[in-house]
Structure formats: structure tokens, C-alpha cells
Symmetry: C2
Subunit: 334 residues, 2 copies
DNA sequence: GAACTATATGAAAACGTTTTCAGTCCATGT
DNA sequence: ACATGGACTGAAAACGTTTTCATATAGTTC
């Protein structure tokens, strides 16, 4: 059926060991190397990675387990990671957990069965709690979501500070009744919620927030209901771009003018946040850098397992747009 | 180091063959099966997929090779495919070619080395031309991009008709000078361009179009230059959502009112196309269905290789929004 | 009760590589 | 001329499974 290294060896008139060495980096005379290369071309040989991995005990594969590839943040991170893996000559296995801890557990086991060299992982809040108790057969670098007591390398945003900046900005622009819409399945959502609470407290404002499943439809449903109430907020912050999509849609449907009747601010500088009228104020995350450096941390860890745990916290950039324009001095208007 | 099936066998007091059978679906007595399961739990055994694949000659893996995972269309398709694979108990390997034929070739070879059971593939225009001449070691299902003379199963949109519908609609709304912005690396771009040409011809209009790299920045650059000219079009159609992003940004920067000074229509019903003012008219592709049915076609093909080639062409849905509002009767205005 | 048959189990071969080990050959230094 | 060593090569073991083959045991049929 499939052409194996034996076939190549036979055609080239050498031993299988020589073929293996010629294809790898072993010492082979130029003459034989040429013969082997010719034989490879003639036979159309492709090495069997399973056999190679089995024997060499190296998978040359790293896993990427994220919650939702449709979240543009993860899409961008995955893209950067894939690129870095390609450059390093490694394969990347992408797993989508749908924010489901059960599915997450299955994929984590699968990664071990694949004998991946390492893992980039954005855990659910639930499994993240279990992380300290869990033993992995491979190095793990957490992306986007980590906790204080995890023993893994990580690359995250300074969520607390970023959300704080958003609140400060809104307050400065004259908004007081600021509502929050946060994803409830990730620690990132929690951190941004905490940043929100701290920010509101610092300004002596009373917080008012909701936690929802991290999807546009969930946010839309919640926001629709919320914005219909008499005590709806003057401004709304969201913890990711999917939630912002849902919230904005709800605002449109409720006929609210932005920012006059509802200011908006959130995360992730998607291109549409600029195109939409009047432009959404967002915290831009360095997505490319997150994916790239996460992969680099992993590669360094593979090289040197004794390295101390490194937790990289990156800062976000606040991009101010029309959705948080200074509030006209009309205090007390519903 | 790693715990193997021998360790489990030793702990369970049975042979390795029995362990293998107990874990698979071989005939094993209930008593021994229980012993094995206990031993697995006690040892923390995880089967080595490389060894399993090598011996069984089944990879249980399918490849997904797309041009750009950041294109929301491919993101959605990948998501649906991953889900279908998960359900079928298969692994999915995602490869991103960046629209680069060289990278594409590398990944295609890699898929063979992985001994994937099958491949979902969105080829570049260049390699697509080579497709009829190429032999694959695995069944291939083309998604989004196919040609008339390919011998592979495929799932595509009726691009010609969809673009025709867009042109018809624009003409009906009173637009005459309709420009086109098309991606040049994919056959999909070509088909939509042909649909554009046919549509313009049918209405007796003179076409005017540009072909660019399929990215927002390329579209932005081209559109910026184009819209600055005196003979800029009254309407612009684009062949995908990335190009639309770039085009719209250029229109905004040029200070053009939509649709009064420039109508817009394109592909892919991204949520922002609804949120943006005045809403973009688009052809909605059944992305979930494309990913799902592509996977199904592949699974069926794996079951029965003798099946005739099946080319599935799906229809798009035209969603009319404000960006193509009826043109005020002001013929001849630049 | 003997001859089958079906079922469960273990021993060992096989999958396609890499890597170890043991050479073989040739150049080099004495 | 002879030992020493380096560079290359081939035979065979090993990686961790699944699967084939043989065997033992129990159950069935005449």
C-alpha cells in the first residue's frame, strides 16, 4: 500500500538506517545521500509520522485548547500561535471546548494521548480552579485566563487595570450609572468584573452588573431586558467583543442613541468597532503578541524545564471613540 | 517514564492482548474487564496514539487546510467542522496557509505524513489549477473553492448566482456605475467576479473592477485610491467580508455618505454588517451547513470510496439593508 | 461420552521508524 | 608496516500498540 522506508532503501541500494540518516541529520556520504534523495523522489516516499513519533518519543506537536474559536480574540491568538509553530517546525492541534468543562477534560486527556510536547491552554473558570491539583504530562502555558495560585507559565492581560481605565474614562466623561456585562465562564470575565467593582468603588459609585454566558445571543437577551427597565444605566461596559455585539444590537433595537442615551465601552479592537457609528471605545489587546509570546514561553520551557514559572502580564491600550463621548450636562435624565 | 499497556497488564494480572481488547471492543469476560479498568485507573494509563495509529493503520484524524482562519467565513466553517469531527470521534488538524501556495504544498505533504483519513481543503487558485493532475493519498473534499474539472467532492456556494442577485438588486435600486472589488487568490473571487461581469453585461452596463489580495488592508488601500478619483463608482460590491471592511473604512475616511454617495454590498452576514450604519446588504452563506456537510461528505466517502463524485452547490440568502437603499433620482451626479 | 463449536485468553508477530552497536574502510602518525 | 582513529554503513533492537494465531476451557449436539 503505502511506500515505506524499506522501499526507498531497496531502490537506493542502501540500508534503511542509511535512508533514515540521510533524511535526518546523520552522517552520510554525499554520494549515498544523493542516491537516497533520488529514490525518495522516485518512490514518492513520505515518512510515517506515527512511526517516527513512536520510536523517537518526540511528537513535534503542541496543542492549543481554547474555549471558542469564533471569539475573534481567540481566532487572532490561534493565528499567531499557528504561525509561530509553523516557523518552529511544529504541528499545532486546535481544540475547541465550547466553554464546556467536560469537553475540556476530554481534550486534555486527548492531548496526553497525542503525547504533545506542550500545551497552550485557555481554561474555563471551573477547570482553572482544579489546575493546582492537576498533574499534566506536558508543560502548559495558560493564555488569557490564569489565577494567582497556578504553577504554570502564563500570558494574560492586566484585566483589572484595563477595566479600571475604562471606568475612569467613563467617569471622567461624566457618566455615573455605569452597568457591567461580564462573561461568567472565564476567569478573565471575573477579573474584569473585579476591576469594574474596584473602579466603581474608587469613584464612590454603586455597581450594577450582570453575568452571562459569553456569547452574543446571551448578551443580547440580557441587555434587551435590562435596557427596557426604567433604571437602565447611562453607560455599559462589556468584558469581550461578543458581548459587545449583543449589547449594541439590543441598544439599537431599543432605539437608544449612542452615546447620548447609552454609552458603550468594551474589549478587543475589532475592525467593526471603528466602522460602527459612532465608534466603540475599547481596550485593544495585543493579540498577536499574546499568541507569539505564549508559544515562545512554551518553547523555552521545553528547552529548559527547570526555568522558574513566568507569568507575563501585558497591558492593554485604551482606544477612545465616539461611544463614550463626554456626557452633556443633563444630570438626572432617565 | 510514561505508563504503557504492559504496566496495566502487569497490575491487572493479564496479558497485554487482553488489556488491548478490554479497552477496544474485543471479547473479554466481565471479570477481567473490570480488573483492567481498575488497573487503568490505578496506573493513570493513557494509550499512545502514535503506537495505536502505527499498528492499526488508522489515524482517526482529518485535516482542515484553509487560507486564512481570520476570515470569519473560515472561522465559522472550521468551527462547524471541528464540532462534526468531535461528534464522530475524530481529531481535526487545522492548517493555515496564508493564501501561500508554497505553504499549501508543505501542509498537503504534511497531511500525508500524518496519514490523515481525509482532508477538507480550501485551495488557492494556483494549486487548484493543479488539482486534476495531483494524486492524493487520502480523500479530499473541497470547501468554498472548486473548479469545473476537479474530481473531488465539494461544497460551495453558487457564487455566480449570488453575485448576480446582488447586481440585479443594485440595478433595481437605481445604481448604474457599479464597481467590483474581488480577491484574486481564490477561485471563489474569480467566480464572483464572473457573476459580476455577467450581471453587468445582462443589464447593458460597463463593468469596472479591481482585484486585490484578500485582506482588509489591501482592500482599504485600493479603495482609498479608487474612491478619490473623479469617476468613482456609485456602488461597490466586494467578494468577501474582509474586503468589505477595508472598503467601508476607505469610504468613511473619504467622507462619503452611505448609500447616498456610495452604495455597498458584499458577502457574509457578519454581525457587524447589521450594526454598522446604515447596515450592509450582504449574501449570507450557510456557513455552519457548509462545514457540517463537508465533513459528512468526507465521512461517507471514507465509508464508501466507490461513491460517485458529489458537488454540492448551496444557495446564498440576500439580506437587504440600508447600504443599498433606492437611489434618489439624481441621474448624472458625480 | 465423543466430537464439535464457540468463547476467552495469551504469546508473538507486525506496523515503520530511529538509534544503538558493531563493524569496515581509509587516512594518518609513528 | 602497524596500530590508532575517524567517518561511514548495515544489522538488529526498540518504541507501544493491535491483531493473528494457537490453545485452553466450557458448552452444545449427536
Amino acid at each position: 500500500m503505502s511506500v515505506s522506508i524499506r522501499d526507498v532503501a531497496r531502490v537506493a541500494g542502501v540500508s534503511v538506517a542509511t535512508v533514515s540518516r540521510a533524511l535526518g541529520n546523520g552522517p552520510v556520504s554525499d554520494a549515498l545521500r544523493a542516491q537516497v534523495e533520488a529514490a525518495v523522489k522516485a518512490t514518492g516516499y513520505h515518512p510515517n509520522l506515527s512511526a517516527r513519533r513512536l520510536r523517537s518519543q518526540r511528537s513535534g506537536t503542541i496543542g492549543l485548547v481554547v474555549a471558542d474559536i469564533r471569539n475573534p480574540f481567540f481566532t487572532a491568538v490561534a493565528h499567531a500561535a499557528e504561525d509561530a509553530a509553523y516557523r518552529a517546525g511544529l504541528r499545532l492541534i486546535l481544540c475547541n471546548t465550547e466553554e464546556d468543562p467536560a469537553r475540556e477534560a476530554i481534550y486534555l486527556g486527548l492531548m496526553q494521548e497525542e503525547r504533545v510536547s506542550g500545551l497552550l491552554f485557555a481554561p474555563t473558570r471551573l477547570t482553572q480552579k482544579e489546575l493546582p491539583r492537576q498533574r499534566f504530562a506536558y508543560p502548559v502555558v495558560l493564555i488569557d485566563r490564569t489565577g494567582p495560585n497556578s504553577a504554570h507559565d502564563s500570558v494574560t492581560l492586566d484585566n483589572h487595570a484595563a477595566m479600571g481605565a475604562l471606568i475612569d474614562h467613563l467617569v471622567e466623561q461624566g457618566y455615573r450609572r455605569i452597568g457591567g456585562l461580564f462573561g461568567k465562564t472565564s476567569n478573565t470575565g471575573v477579573e474584569r468584573r473585579n476591576g469594574y467593582l474596584a473602579g466603581m468603588l474608587a469613584h464612590g459609585l454603586t455597581p450594577d452588573y450582570r453575568e452571562v454566558a459569553p456569547s452574543a445571543v446571551a448578551a443580547h437577551a440580557e441587555a434587551t431586558q435590562w435596557l427596557a427597565r426604567g433604571d437602565r444605566p447611562e453607560a455599559l461596559v462589556t468584558s469581550n467583543s461578543l458581548l459587545m455585539t449583543g449589547a449594541m444590537k439590543a441598544a439599537r433595537e431599543a432605539g437608544l442613541r449612542i452615546p447620548e442615551q447609552l454609552a458603550l465601552a468594551g474589549f478587543d479592537n475589532e475592525s467593526w468597532t471603528e466602522l460602527v457609528e459612532p465608534g466603540i471605545t475599547v481596550i485593544e489587546q495585543p493579540v498577536e503578541e499574546i499568541g507569539r509570546t505564549a508559544m515562545n514561553l512554551l518553547l523555552e520551557r521545553l528547552q529548559n524545564p527547570a526555568l522558574p514559572v513566568r507569568k507575563l502580564v501585558l497591558g492593554g491600550r485604551c482606544i477612545v471613540r465616539g461611544s463614550t463621548q463626554a456626557r452633556a450636562s443633563m444630570a438626572g435624565v432617565a
